[in-house]
């Protein structure tokens, strides 16, 4: 254990397991104290490297992020404090690694619940190598006006309130991190303030003890008096008693051990800290308070009287001329974060994104206001989810069933169509799933699978204007447009597309009206009279039936229907459906371990 000052205004730390808030709070404290350099030199985040942007006052700075402790220590040889925000599961291993770095002098462990045996190994190593361990189960510590560990001392408001931005004359050490905040206030109220405060943590065996820090404070000339807040359980306070008895401490020590209420409990009691457990008589708060009194510490009769004990002790030092008056400074204003300013209603900022279909902020995600649990519990299907997320309403079951049928029918159409072909070629080139999928999807457009919307648009326009099939088809021909939804490379009058028949059959028995479909069938009759293969294809069937769904369900206004057709919702159905098949083709090729595809020369016409 080191014997004097651990920190200064130039101390820099490495921060393990990045947490934005504590690091930012350290930097805000630095700015408040007028430090020239940020107190966090580097961040260690296992598995990632680069920089992390944070504020140092008004300016943004980039703090290097390292993947390993060794690399961070090598990059920042002057950083001698290691602040460990790892979980209780991994805190011991990372702390040991840090203690073993020659550049690291102090390790603070925040996690609560580090196994006792692990901590003991850290203590043994720290003792043998003259390093300082603070924690586990602690908020850390602070040297006023110089350096602060993590979340110590709470908000900036509190730090300003307790004048922790400039040094006072009191050294404080406690077990409890929560109570240390209260004590910084108490000390600030009745003295010239804190010089250094350490919370050693609530574990059975803290890395450094109350007496370790009191002995250290005794060697720091700026500290004129010490305040100790202990608690029941363990024998830590007795090492302080010993130090006092042996005359190793020559500054006044005001002490209080909490937990006198333990005797009121009918059985053994374990309070919040692992170490705060009623044990034998020796470990009781009463016995420890008495031992401290006997050893010469100033011990009040209750916590309520602690403040006046501190006050009297300080005033006596002032009378004796042992404390020189402090020159007060006004700390700079820390710019407020946008988020907290918005929260407090001081400023407003425009949002950059608007979303109306889903919300993930509550207890469970909602699709169009319907919580996930109702979706699952009420047995909704994919069609219902599509109707919520695409149409923002719950459609009747026959509609969602129709959507599901469309998806099932369009999920795949063999390996030879352009989408599947592209996906197969890409998968065979060794590309990943997403690349293979999108290379297939990218072929969807006016010539492949993209005709549903157009079919719906033209059928709707023609049907709404009461054009006869003759007028419609010939009108299109005049404009040089092929009628979308009509025509098939293979299918014909005598070899109908089975998919079209299935859709029509479902609609006839489930839809209230099939006006648009009937219109499409009339158009088909006319086109078939021109050529045998001008049948109503699957795009045309889905396009026209979707018009019937939208109009017949009574759940959409005319404007909404126009908008749905205009935006191109219906091709969305094809894209979604075919993704199923394209993903299947990707897996198929990977499973078959197919090599790179190369198109054969023989199959290419080379010509000038």
């Amino acid at each position: 254990m080191a014997t004097g000052q651990l920190f200064s205004r130039t101390t820099q730390a490495l921060f393990y397991n990045y947490k934005q808030l504590p690091v930012q709070r350290m930097l805000d404290f630095d700015f408040l104290c007028g430090r020239e350099t940020p107190s966090v030199a580097g961040i260690i985040n296992p598995g990632s490297e680069g920089f992390q942007k944070l504020f140092f006052g008004q300016e943004e700075i980039a703090i290097p992020v390292h993947a390993a402790i060794e690399a961070a220590c090598a990059a920042h040889p002057t950083a001698d404090v290691f602040i460990n925000f790892a979980s209780f599961r991994s805190a011991a291993a990372s702390s040991m690694a840090a203690l073993k770095q020659p550049t690291i002098k102090v390790v603070a462990i925040i996690a609560e619940g580090v196994p006792e045996l692990d901590t003991k190994q850290l203590i043994a190593y720290a003792c043998a190598n003259n390093k300082v361990l603070i924690g586990p189960a602690t908020v850390g510590g602070i040297q006023a006006g110089a350096f602060k560990i993590g979340d110590t001392a709470g908000t900036i408001d509190n730090i300003i309130h307790c004048k922790l931005y400039r040094p006072g004359s009191v050294g404080f050490v406690s077990k409890s991190g929560g109570m240390s905040n209260e004590m910084y206030n108490t000390v600030a109220r009745v003295t010239d303030g804190i010089y250094e405060g350490i919370a050693i943590g609530g574990d059975v065996f803290p890395g450094s003890t109350l007496s370790d820090h009191i002995l250290r404070f005794n060697n720091i000339p700026q500290i004129k008096m010490m305040v100790v807040l202990g608690e029941l359980g363990g024998r830590d306070e007795y090492s302080l008693v010993e130090a006092l008895k042996q005359g190793k401490v020559n500054k006044p020590v005001v002490a209080w051990v909490s937990g006198t209420c333990a005797r009121l409990f009918k059985s053994e009691v374990q309070f919040g800290h692992a170490g705060a457990k009623s044990g034998g008589e020796m470990e009781s708060a009463q016995a420890k308070n008495q031992a401290l009194i006997d050893a010469g510490a100033i011990v009040p009769t209750s916590f309520e009287a602690l403040e006046s004990a501190i006050k009297e002790t300080f005033e006596k030092l002032v009378e004796e001329g042992k404390v020189s008056p402090i020159k007060e400074v006004t700390p700079p204003q820390i710019p407020e974060d946008l988020n907290s300013a918005i929260k407090s209603g001081k400023v407003r900022a425009p949002t950059h994104i608007i979303s109306t279909i889903s919300d993930d902020r509550g207890d469970e995600p909602c699709y169009a206001g319907v919580p996930m649990s109702s979706i699952i519990e009420q047995g909704y299907g994919v069609g219902d989810v599509i109707s919520l997320l695409w149409f923002k309403r719950s459609l009747p079951r026959y509609c969602t069933k129709f959507i599901e049928i469309c998806i099932m029918l369009c999920a795949d159409h063999g390996p030879c169509v352009s989408g599947a072909h592209n996906t197969i070629v890409t998968a065979r080139a060794g590309k990943d799933l997403v690349s293979s999928l999108v290379s297939g999807l990218l072929t969807i457009g006016p010539r492949f699978g993209g005709a549903i919307d157009d079919a719906a648009r033209y059928f709707k326009d023609a049907c709404d204007r009461n054009l006869t099939p003759y007028e419609f088809v010939e009108g299109m021909k005049k404009k040089g447009i092929r009628v979308p939804g009509i025509g098939h490379r293979i299918k014909s009058r005598d070899n109908r597309d089975k998919r079209v028949e299935l859709l029509q059959k479902f609609a006839r028995s489930n839809f209230p009206t099939v006006k648009y479909m009937e219109y499409a069938v009339q158009v088909e009759s006319y086109t078939l009279s021109k050529a045998n293969n001008l049948v109503l294809n699957v795009d045309g069937a889905i396009g026209s039936l979707f018009l019937d769904l939208l109009a017949g369900s009574g759940m959409f206004t005319k404007q909404e229907i126009d908008e749905i057709v205009q935006i191109g919702y219906l091709n969305g159905l094809f894209v979604l459906a075919r993704s199923i098949g394209l993903i299947g083709h990707t897996f198929d090729q990977k499973r078959l371990k197919q090599p790179l595809y190369r198109h054969p020369w023989e199959d290419v016409l080379y010509t000038k």
């Binding site: 209780f88 599961r89 609560e112 619940g113 580090v114 196994p115 006792e116 045996l117 692990d118 003991k120 190994q121 203590i123 043994a124 003792c127 908020v139 979340d151 001392a153 709470g154 908000t155 408001d157 509190n158 309130h161 077990k175 409890s176 991190g177 929560g178 109570m179 905040n181 209260e182 206030n185 108490t186 609530g202 059975v204 065996f205 608690e231 909490s258 937990g259 006198t260 209420c261 009121l264 409990f265 009918k266 059985s267 053994e268 009691v269 374990q270 309070f271 919040g272 800290h273 692992a274 170490g275 705060a276 457990k277 708060a285 009769t301 209750s302 916590f303 309520e304 403040e307």
Partner: protein
């Protein structure tokens, strides 16, 4: 969250299982557990044996063929001296012994509680009784050993030898030598090996305390007759396989009332911490305090100012409980605090230190909702409420408390970080004494 005592049955189970794994040698330990259906609740009349005794005998046939020992397995010692151990019974007699004592309240070193769990073992005739104790301390472990173990260990304390094994060191024959130096040669090797394996097992399983008093030699092999153990439950994440189905019973005598076990249930379900213990149901000062450290200090202060006898409860909420959890919690505290109004004044101390980052206004909303609901009860109990809290957004939280007082017509004194933390304890005492 710390060192937890385990039952003798579990201590022996762990030693038996892992002694074999670590040394390749078998310990002859045999023991079974007989337990009641109720463990923590205060309704002894409903208590009966949960263990199926017939099934037990089928699984462990020695129960019906050998003479047995039965004793309560309740984390307290001195059972022999208190006449709670029965020797040389057959299984039917064991069953009678258990039935007669199950659910019966006993008092051990000032703690009263019902007996709910027994351990049954074969009766082992033996001559010598040895003592072995391992305790984890800050810089290592201390191991104590004596050839004069048994119920008179304290009288023979001068014969106990103790060594310290520094953290990280292994228990070499040199370090172990002072413990076994005076043993007869024919048993020295066996006992030295035994101590070494037990020490390895102690560290391997994250024991923090282990005591065998006594263990005997049966056919020249060590056999623990009585055991106590404590595990470090923070190490559960790495040990759950090794520990198996381990139970961490509440300390003996810690029986929960219905309200206490309701809060205990809330506490187990949330990541926050919600603690509630009734100290005196007729007390006139009740507390509901944010923060582990602060809650202890509030209870201390009522006692240190001389009014321990009026302190109704200990209560802590911390770790950012949700509003609804605070509401349910506060309801229980208020119900207990306002129970059986007797015309005398009472005080409710809603305290807390200066929070680091907890939003004070937010945590107060749950309490305020509960206070509104319980307006009539608060008035009937002549309750005055004293509030003190600091931290983020405290001004808003305190203002809400002040206006609540006007709204429900219950006097509420409200203080922020400018006042001492426990000043309201003093005020509460003044109120209940002045008006009495």
């Amino acid at each position: 969250m710390a060192r937890k005592k385990i039952r003798e049955y579990d201590s022996k189970r762990l030693v038996k299982e892992h002694f074999k794994r670590l040394s390749g040698k078998e310990l002859a330990i045999r023991s079974v557990q007989v337990r009641s259906n109720l463990n923590t609740i205060l309704s002894f009349s409903l208590m009966c044996i949960e263990t199926d005794l017939n099934e037990l005998v089928e699984k462990e046939p020695w129960l019906s063929s050998e003479k047995l020992v039965v004793k309560p397995d309740m984390l307290f010692g001195k059972r022999g001296k208190s006449g709670l151990v029965a020797l040389k019974l057959d299984f039917a007699e064991v069953a009678t012994f258990v039935k007669e004592r199950l659910g019966k309240e006993v008092e051990m070193s000032g703690c009263k509680g019902p007996i709910t769990t027994f351990i049954v073992e074969p009766f082992i005739p033996h001559n010598e009784e040895f003592y072995l104790n391992i305790v984890s301390d800050r810089l290592g472990c201390s191991i104590s050993f004596s050839e004069c173990g048994g119920i008179d260990i304290e009288e023979n304390w001068d014969k106990v030898k103790t060594i310290s094994v520094p953290t990280g060191a292994s228990l070499t024959p040199e370090i172990c030598a002072p413990l076994v130096a005076t043993l007869p040669l024919e048993i020295k090797g066996e006992l030295e090996d035994f101590i070494q394996v037990i020490f390895t097992l102690f560290e391997d399983l994250d024991f923090t305390f282990l005591e065998m008093n006594p263990f005997a030699l049966v056919d020249g092999k060590p056999y623990p007759l009585d055991m106590r153990g404590e595990l470090d439950d923070t190490a559960a994440f790495k040990n759950f396989k090794k520990w198996g189905d381990i139970e961490f019973p509440m300390p003996f005598g810690r029986v929960m009332s219905a309200t206490e076990s309701f809060i205990h249930g809330l506490d187990e379900k949330t990541s926050a911490s919600l603690k509630f213990t009734v100290l005196n149901p007729k007390g006139r000062i009740w507390t509901m305090v944010a923060g582990g450290g602060a809650s202890v200090i509030y209870a201390d202060t009522v006692g240190d100012l001389g009014y321990a006898s009026e302190l109704g409860n200990y209560a802590e909420y911390s770790g950012a409980p949700k509003e609804d959890e605070v509401l349910q919690y506060a309801r229980v505290v208020i119900d207990c605090a306002t129970a059986n109004p007797d015309g005398k004044t009472r005080a409710l101390v809603i305290g807390g230190g200066i929070a680091n980052f907890t939003d004070v206004a937010a945590t107060f909303s749950g309490i305020i909702r509960a206070l509104k609901e319980k307006e009539a009860k608060l008035k009937a109990a002549r309750m005055h409420i004293f509030v003190r809290r600091g931290g983020p957004n405290y001004q808003k939280g305190l203002a809400k408390m002040r206006s609540l007082g006007d709204e429900i017509g219950v006097p509420i004194e409200v203080y922020g970080p400018e006042a001492t933390m426990t000043g309201i304890c003093k005020e509460a005492i003044q109120y209940i004494t002045a008006a009495a």
